[in-house]
Each structure stands twice: as C-alpha cells, then as structure tokens.
C-alpha cells in the first residue's frame, strides 16, 4: 500500500469489525463497570463496598461460592469416575455409555430443575408423596429446595465438562506410561493413584474450572429451586432486583456491582484455565502403541454396569419422563394414571395460547437471526484478526472473546443500560433488545469457529487470486468465503442450538409479547401453571433434541 490513505475493502472491513465489537460488546460491558464504579460523576469504591456488604448481596456472593464449589467438587468426582470407567475398564457397553453420559449437555438444566421440583419438592413432589402416602414415611425423604438439592441437579448437567476432558486425556495417553509402572511392580490401584490420575490432573482441573465458571454464572436451576427457600446466587439476585424495581437506580447499581464481581471472578477462572491448559499439560500423547490394558472389573463388572444404567435412568430418563407425564395431567397434583391424562395441555400451548405459541416462534426467530447475523459478523471480524496485519487487532480479539467470560446476566444488564433510551435508542421491552444481547453473547462462538477455519486458508490462496487479477472483494467472495464455509456453518449451529434453549439473558429482557421458550417455561412455573410449564418443557425438549440430532446428521454428511 502506498503512503497515502486509500479507502477500500480492507478499511471497510476493519471499520465494520471495530464498529460491531464496540457497539455490541464493548459498550454494554463498559457501561456495567462505569455504573458500578462511578457514583455522581466520581470514582467511588467505598459505595461499591457498601453495596456488597448489604446483607442480601453479601449472602448472594457467598451462595454463589458455596453452590459453585459444591457443584465443582461433585461434578469433578462424577465426571472423572465415569470417564475412567468408560475408557479404562472392561465395563460392558462402554461405547453406548459414553454417548449417554453426554446427553445432559444437550438438555437445558432449568427443565431438569423443573422436573426435579415436581419429583422432590418437600410437599408436592411425586417421590416424596410416594414415600409419605404409600410407604408411611413421616416426612419427605429429600428436599430439593436446598443447597444440596441445587448442587445435585446442577451436577447432573455440568459433570460432562470434566467427563469429556478426562475421556480425551485418558484415550490419548500413551499406555506404556502405565505399563512401565506395572512392570515396576505397581498394582492397578497404585498405578491409577500415582500415575494415571496425576497425569490427567491438568485435564481434570481444566474441566473442573469450566464447571465452576458455568455454575457460578448459572441462573436457571437456582431460580427454579432456590428462590422458594430464599437461596439466591448472583445471577438470581440480579434478576430479582431488576424485576422487582422496574429499573430503579438502586436496583441497577446493585446489579452492576454484582455483575462486576461476577466478571472478575469469571476472568480469574478463565485465566487459571488458560494457565492450566498452556503450562500444566504433560506430553503424554501416544505415538504408535497398543490399546491400553483394560482393568478387569471382575465381580464389580455387572454391579457397576447396573450403577451406570441406574445413574442414566435417574438423571436423564426419570426427569424427562416426568416432564412429559406431568405435561399431560389434567391438574397438577393428580396421581400419574391413565384416567388423569389428557393431550389438551399440549394442544392448548401449541395451537391455542398466544403466549406459548409466540414464545416458540420468538425463540426460533431469535435463534435464526442471531445465528445468521453473528455468523457473518464473525467472518468479518475473524478475517480482520487472522488475516489482516493491522494494529489493534489484539484488542479486537480481546473484545470478541470477552463474552466468554461475561456471564449472560451481565450481558443482559449491560444491554439494558445501553439500549433503553439513555443513549438515544430505546428498544427496551421489544424483541430487538434480546437479539442485540444474543449477538453479544454468542459472538465468541462465531469467532472461534471462523478463526479456526480461516487459519486453514493460507495467505497464498488469496495472493494467487489477487495475482490473477481479482480485487480484494472478489478474492474474498470467490476464494475465502467458499473455503471458510464449514466454519461458518459450524458457527451458525453453535449459536442457533444454545439460543433455542436460552433463559438467563432473555429472562432479564423479555416484555409482554417477547417471551422466549425458556422464559415461557420459567414464568408459567412461577405463576403456578405447573402442567402448562411441563407441557411447554416437553415441547421444548422435542424441538431441542430434534434440532441437535438433525444438525449432528447434517454435520456427519458434510464431513
């Protein structure tokens, strides 16, 4: 390029990338910090401390910590144990088990929480009632509206983070590392303790930190199960405050202060995770080698298989079935029996009730729109980051990945601050504010998928096109875009699928006609319309699972 400034395709792309990231990501997040730290035009840390030391906020902080730690510990133990079982032992049907253990990843945990509420709420839960009414127990056998209850349910949905990481590490690990311990005289138990576990410890830790990150910022389960017993964590308290006070200054301030704490904690976890990933990983990958010796479970083989099946039955089949059955009840609380069942609820929410029908179309529309917009924005920004040698692209990358460490509730709050009229545009209570928030929330997914694809496209391919006489724009259109198409498709679905079952963001932003599927289920449950909530959750499960399965199929064919 010559010394004089020319305005061409690269400048347009760069400007566009900066504009998208600043408007959608930087402004909302900065507004949060600004509102948290600035009071009446000056920096005021003392006031922030004051907000944090209020009893309720302080309690929410502690609760977030307790719940996240609890889920992290249990999820890590469960995930590591199952990973070891399906990779290192002669458990029957290991392959099928491995797939089944990943199913919870697909299901929204707030629907699970709803199911567990219907099963284990102290008075009306079906299991508790069975024990009290049929078996004559004096009281409920388990109260789900407790810390333990919340930890239990979150564990069921979050343990796959550890499971996936540890399975991968155990499968790739060089088996001679363990064999050489064996020939050194160590029995299998000693090897597992002294060699295998320490070698996969970085993977366990990295999975554990992911659980912690998600659990700390998790809204759905705590909202469904905790609020009843007065257990709030940071996201649920933000929700409570914003909702009760309809945007009062004090509520917003509490929200921004809590958000700041959440962002700092999340950033810390991500920083730790990166350190573990970059420094702590041992080189344990096998070259050419044998399948590792399977540990013979002998007498424990069938009991452990039964345990796995029971676990899957208890954590996946039971809640899912409960959702569909309760969704078919004439009235909540009736015994589950054929004479009490009806299809009317399903018919009503699908064909008659505007609230639920709107919610389904809103979610699908929002998912498609967010996925499409973010996918294209992602290509442009990734292109600038990966391929263009411009100053400040590090900042772009940071901004793009920021939403990874900014929990949904924080993004939603930031979007409220930015888009509810204070700065000229007011889209509060419209569907657009949810779309804007989704774009910010899922930008990081699009960047990851597209950057990975773009890095595969060697510069010389574009240079060859330019040398053949193509303009920058033609080279992009005819060479780059077709080559990164798989990355774009991946980005689309990485956004569309989670957007379908989203709750945390939309629950802070919805208006009377802009409920999403998640919000509809949540509010129906709040309003005591339990059978409709269950029926809606059943419909949601069908939509979500169908979408997941179809996408997996399509992807397989593409590969």
């Amino acid at each position: 390029m010559t010394g004089s400034f020319r305005f061409g395709t690269p400048q347009i792309l760069f400007g566009l990338a900066v504009a998208i990231l600043v408007i959608f990501v930087a402004v909302p997040v900065l507004l949060i910090f600004f509102n948290a730290l600035w009071v009446n035009g000056s920096l005021n840390i003392a006031d922030m401390v004051k907000v944090l030391s209020e009893r309720e906020t302080y309690k929410a902080l502690i609760n977030s910590l307790i719940l996240a730690s609890g889920v992290t510990v249990t999820g890590t133990i469960v995930g590591t144990f199952f990973a070891w079982l399906v990779t290192r032992t002669d458990l029957p049907y290991k392959g099928a088990m491995k797939v089944l253990f990943l199913v919870p990843f697909m299901l929204p945990s707030f629907i699970g929480a709803l199911a567990w509420k219907m099963l284990l709420s102290p008075r009306s839960g079906y299991i508790n009632r069975f024990f009290i009414e049929t078996l004559g127990f004096p009281g409920p056998i388990f109260d789900i509206y407790t810390y333990q209850g919340i930890i239990l349910v979150e564990t069921m949905y979050l343990f796959p983070f550890v499971f996936i990481q540890v399975c991968g590490a155990l499968e790739r690990m060089d088996p001679t590392l363990e064999e050489s311990a064996r020939i050194s005289g160590a029995d299998l138990f000693t090897i597992t303790r002294k060699i295998t576990i320490p070698l996969v410890a970085p993977s366990i830790l990295s999975g554990a930190l992911l659980i912690m990150l998600y659990s700390m910022a998790h809204f759905g389960t705590v909202a469904m199960l905790g609020i009843e017993a007065g257990i709030y964590n940071i996201p649920t308290l933000i929700y409570e405050r914003i909702h009760q006070s309809a945007g009062s200054f004090a509520a917003i301030r509490t929200g921004t202060v809590l958000s700041t704490v959440l962002v700092i904690a999340a950033a810390l976890i991500i920083w730790l995770q990166n350190r573990v990933l970059s420094k702590g990983r041992y080189q344990i990958i096998a070259g050419k080698s044998f399948r590792p010796t399977e540990i013979r479970l002998r007498g424990l083989r069938l009991p452990l298989l039964a345990f796995c099946i029971a676990y899957i039955g208890f954590t996946i089949v039971l809640p899912t079935t409960t959702i569909f059955l309760v969704g078919g009840l004439k009235t909540y609380g009736l015994p589950i029996a054929v004479e009490n069942m009806t299809f009317d609820n399903y018919h009503h929410i699908l064909f008659e009730w505007d609230l639920t029908r709107d919610a389904i179309w809103n979610s699908i529309g929002l998912g498609l729109a967010a996925a499409l917009i973010t996918m294209f924005a992602g290509v442009i920004i990734s292109y600038v980051i990966v391929k263009m040698k411009v100053p400040g692209k590090g900042l772009l990358e940071f901004l793009g990945m920021l939403p990874f460490s900014v929990p949904g509730s924080v993004i939603a709050l930031g979007v409220i601050l930015a888009w509810s009229g204070k700065y000229g545009i007011n889209i509060y209570n419209t569907i657009w504010i949810i779309l804007v928030a989704y774009i910010a929330r899922y930008m990081a997914f699009a960047l990851k998928a597209n950057s990975a694809a773009l890095e595969q496209v060697h510069d010389s391919l574009v240079e060859a096109a330019r040398a053949s006489g193509a303009t920058m724009w033609q080279a992009l259109r005819d060479i780059v875009i077709p080559l990164v198409r798989p990355g774009m498709v991946a980005a689309f679905f990485l956004i569309f699928l989670p957007a379908l079952r989203e709750l945390t963001v939309s629950v802070l932003l919805y208006g009377p006609t802009t409920r999403t599927i998640g919000v509809a289920i949540y509010t129906l449950n709040e309003d005591g319309e339990t059978v409709y909530a269950a029926a809606m959750a059943g419909v949601a499960l069908i939509i979500i699972v169908t979408a997941e399965v179809v996408v997996k199929r399509v992807f397989k064919i593409e590969k």
Binding site: G185, A186, L199, G287, S289
Partner: protein
Amino acid sequence: MSYLKLDAIDKRFGNVAAVSGLNLEVAPGECVAMLGPSGCGKTTTLRMVAGFEDIDGGEIRAGDRVLSSKAKNYYLPPEKRDFGMVFQAFAVWPHLSVFENIAFPLRIRKLPADEIRRRVDEALRHTNLTALADSRPDDLSGGGKQRIALARALAIRPKVMLLDEPLSSLDPHFREEMRFEIKDIQRRLGFSILYVTHDQSEAMALSDRILVMKQGVVQQIGSPRDVYYRPANRFVFSFIGLSSFLRVRFTGGRMQVDDLALPFDAVDEAPAELVGVGEGVLAVRPSDVDFVDEGGLRGTVRRRSSLGEIVDYQIAVGSQTLRVQKTRHEPGPQVGETCGVRFAMSNWYPLTDASEG
C-alpha cells in the same frame, strides 16, 4: 544353563497367529536380539514375557518360577515378575522428577529410604544422569529420557531386561552411543537381555544370539556370525545384510546359470539334495563377489553407480542380474564391458524353501 525359557509359545489375535510355536532359552548374562520385519510378532513375544499379554499355548518360565502357562491356566501379573523393561517411546513419567522416576519401583517394594537413595544413585551413575537427578524429564532430550527409562529398569537389579526398540526414537548419533552404553552396563551388572529391534546392525553389535522371526515363526536362532554367514534359509539370508540370488540348475554334474556353465567346481560345495533335485538358488553377499579377468562366470556390466565409499554394480548374467559391491579403491569394469565373477562365499537354498514360515 538357561534362566528365561519360552516353550512352544502360541499367540493369536482373532484369526491372526501372531506367534506360533516359539522356543527360546536365554542364559544368565546373555543378550538375545529378536529381529524381523514389521508385524512379525517381536513385540507380542516380549509382551508375553513381560506378562502384558497372556498366551494361547506353551509355557514361560524364569529360573524355577512359572510365569505363564496355558496348560495350568496360570499367569503371573506383570508387576510380580521383577523384570526391567524399556519401551520405545521412553514412557518416563513427566510429573515425577528424574530421581522419583527411578525410585518408583523401589518405593513400590517398600525399601528403606537410605537403600532407595543408594540404589537410585547407583542407577544414575550407571546411566550418567547423576547431575540431572532433580530435573523434570520433559527438560531432557530423547536420549536423556531413554536413560531415565533404563535407570528405572535397572533400579530393581532385575535378572532380565526387556527392551522393545529402545533406541529407535533416538537420533542416529545417539543411537550408537546408547547401544554401547547398554552393552557396557550389561557387562558390569550381568543381567540377561531380550531385545527387540528391526535394525540388524544393532542386533549384531549388541547380542550374543539373534532370533530371526517371520510372521510369528522363528526362522533361525544363532550367533551373529551364524546368522550372517550361515543363514538357515533364503529369508534369513535376505533379511540380514545385502543379498543377491541366482537361479541355478545342476545337469550332468555341472552347475549352470541359464545356459552358462559355472566354470569352477561349485557342485561339490552345493548340498547333495539340491544337486539331486536338479535346481536351486545360489545366494551371495554382493561384497563377497570378486571380479576376475580370466574365466569365472561371464557377465556384462549393466549399471555402475558410486555410493561414495562403495561402488555398486549390476551384472547381467544370462537373463538374471547379479549385484556386486566393491570399495572404490578396487578396480572394476565399466558399463557395457564383459567381466568374469567368482564367489568368495556362497550359500545354496532350494527353490521353494519349506523351512521358511
């Protein structure tokens, strides 16, 4: 007297016979190399000795202990066999220091702390690792890692060391150095070695005896000299060193390559049964062929290429081709010239060799 004894060992993976009827005895202090092409069952044999694979037939003993026995359906697990083993990919534990890697088998055996320190120090000394005792394995080169693995295997002072291509992940330069170090340590400590390799020069340099395998069947067990100079069959001949083969016929007490009679009296050297059959294969090492001006088997030089120190010839003899190698100092014919050859050493094999697996 033998220490390790493998008796009629069979091993199948599904329908594939990985090892069939393998017999081998290893004397105390002896080094036996197992040599053979990829997939011939060397690793499988070693892993059966180590106890990582059970056996489908036969028996493995060490001293008066039975290790594996099909008949008795008895398998001593690997951790009870007290062998030292070194793997191709080093397999040193990255989360333990060099010292702790070597101390591991001793700690498992619950030796007292001062004994552990003494033995680890000794193993470190034998492998020249003393200065690196507190390092992390990942800070060492491939050669360094393999030394740790060797020291770890030495620490329990095993009677038998099992080595599966221990040098093949190293640079060629290191490989030769380590080869002599292993031999040296063995001489000092006197253990037996069962050594898997597909590098024949490694096998020649290290071992007292070489076992050559093909498709799970032993072809020959013998000293390096035997295996090189008296290969049991054509396969062994071609597997060890360079080889060149000529099909020959015996007619009326004379030996012919195609229509060309061999002018020298080779028939006497050929085994009587081949002469009786009337046909056979003459096997020579290209370096054992001499050019002669007069007489000899006549041929034409088809190609002559200089490989640096060595000159490689292809000689057309009748319709067949003979390969000859001479050092560059020895005079030799040019391309297109006619020349005579004589064989300083040669072997004869049947056309179809039943002894090949």
